[in-house]
């Protein structure tokens, strides 16, 4: 990837991170930790890889993304708004009564959301179904899937892991947002998911592990996954929960936390300062 392209994506991610912090801050509470850890991967996919159309969000032939960790909706909404699926002003309606942007992703409310999620573990099965439907219809498009590390405690993830490999769904490219924290504490203390590489490998997936905040690393992994001829792909992203928001980053309480609008705005300002830029 050209250095200019990396810079473009970094600038985009900075904007989306700020939009996400702003939206949650405006509401005063939200799933900020797990939203901020997926900003870079969402930016990379929607800005560089996915064939989607903001003017025709439901076109039949398109790439799709299933946000299985549905509580990361606010990050996805920022990406979609930025891309023009709906006005950026909508972000300030997050979780308001009658909103089109609920805390958890809803395909019937939000233009550009491809699957309703929120009950953890279920997105992998839906992504498999979408990939199978594409295969039946000869649609040569990718299905991207983002699951959480805590979510990987769910049995359904491993039912899906078995099935996707069995059905040889090489068009399914999944990511684990490995931010090492779940609601009640560190993943390794609450319910250890390691060895993730070995597990997905053993289930028959093509496994890669990269820094989930580094565009060059992630892009190479996605390019390799796209070329995989038989196996579904799992790209494990080492990420930081709450990345970039000073009040949330690495804070064990950041899964769903209160934040005042002033604090959120302060966090956004800090991100603008060149010495605080996310590397």
């Amino acid at each position: 990837m050209e250095i200019t392209e990396v810079k473009r994506l970094e600038a985009k991610a900075l904007k989306i991170r700020k939009m996400t912090i702003d939206a949650i801050g405006y509401l005063g509470v939200g799933h900020i930790g797990g939203a901020l850890s997926v900003v870079e991967i969402l930016t990379l996919l929607y800005e560089k890889h996915m064939d989607v159309s903001p003017t025709d969000p439901r076109k039949t032939v398109r790439d799709k993304l299933v946000m299985s960790k549905g509580h990361a909706g606010p990050a996805l909404y920022s990406v979609l708004a930025n891309k023009g699926f709906f006005p950026e002003e909508w972000l300030h309606t997050l979780n308001a009564g009658g909103t089109r942007l609920p805390s958890h992703c809803d395909m019937n409310r939000t233009p550009g959301v491809d699957m309703s999620t929120g009950s953890l573990g279920q997105g992998i099965s839906a992504a498999i179904g979408i990939a199978l439907a594409n295969r039946l219809d000869g649609i040569d498009k990718k299905v991207y899937l983002i699951i959480g590390d805590g979510e990987s405690n769910e049995g359904q993830i491993w039912e899906g892991a078995m099935a996707a490999a069995h059905f040889k769904l090489n068009h399914l490219i999944a990511f684990t947002d490995y931010n090492k924290m779940q609601i009640d504490g560190y993943v390794h203390e609450i319910m250890n998911v390691e060895d993730l590489n070995a597990k997905w490998n053993a289930f028959g997936w093509f496994v890669q592990r990269v820094n989930g905040h580094d565009f060059e690393d992630m892009n190479m992994a996605v390019e390799r996954a796209k070329k995989e001829p038989y196996r579904p792909s799992m790209i494990i992203l080492d990420t930081i929960k709450g990345k970039g928001a000073f009040f949330a980053e690495r804070n064990l309480a950041n899964h769903n936390m209160n934040v005042s609008y002033e604090t959120a705005q302060e966090a956004c300002k800090l991100l603008d300062h060149p010495t605080n830029r996310i590397k």
């Binding site: 395909m107 309703s116 999620t117 839906a126 199978l132 439907a133 359904q156 099935a163």
Partner: protein, 313 residues
Amino acid sequence: MNQLEMRAVYAQTLIELAEKDDRIVLLEADLMKASGTPVFMNRFPERTFNVGVAEANMIGVAAGLSAGGKIPFADTFGCFASRRAYDQFFISANYARLNVKLTGTDPGISAAYNGGTHMPFEDMGIMRNIPELVVFEPGDPVSLKALVIRCALHQGCTYMRLHRKQAEKIYTDNESFELGKGKVLKDGNDVTLIAVGVIAVAEALKAGKILARNGISAAVIDMHTVKPLDTELVLEYAKKTGAILTCENHQIINGLGSAVAETLSENYPVVMKRAGIYDEFGEVGTQEYLQKRFGMTAKNYVVNVEKLLKKKK
């Protein structure tokens, strides 16, 4: 031929649907042989997905296929379709407003030798709680075929209870059916038996004949769709006969009896009684034994009607 194997009719109907509509796909969770659907797989191998013993994943994959424009039918034993994979069906299929056709086989005591672990007495009830879901249980092979076709045409999720064994035909082949519209099998003036499913409908019809011999004019209704309930028909017969017995191969809590009671108590209360399983777990036995054990017999329905009629006076 008056008896047909219900699962064979189910599979054959799916094949006929799939021949006309390439969006029809079938999902299984290692109970294909029990559901009688290997014939579908042989005809449409590329449209059959067996996910192994993983019901939650099966329903999630069905939801994904629906999101991809397909019309997925998924079947497994009713206990697994409902209890085990309820959240997947609730969220990934129904909440997402997709189009998943779920079939739970072996309703109630028809699970016979598989016993209490495999006897869904509550599936209709928990499914009835899902908003917008259509819940139905065909009472014979003719209505099964017609209602499966209706269900494929319906835009939205459905849950069908399928008695997969032999069942007597109670309709002629050209009879037409609609989801949400009950069928009056026998008219009457003194009492109405509202039944659902193969066993209860057959026993209710027998009870109707016994009652006729005893000088009681009983109407018998096949209420194949429990949700949405045909409230118009329920109220019509409440007004006409003034007494109602509901008959079902299901818990009396939250099944057909509850649905009818809700309608009556809010609109036109008449004396009524729910015949079904009285808050008990299942157990093993022959179907004959279990019918007697749980009161799913014409004789028990007659006893209940006689008690009801005393209250009516």
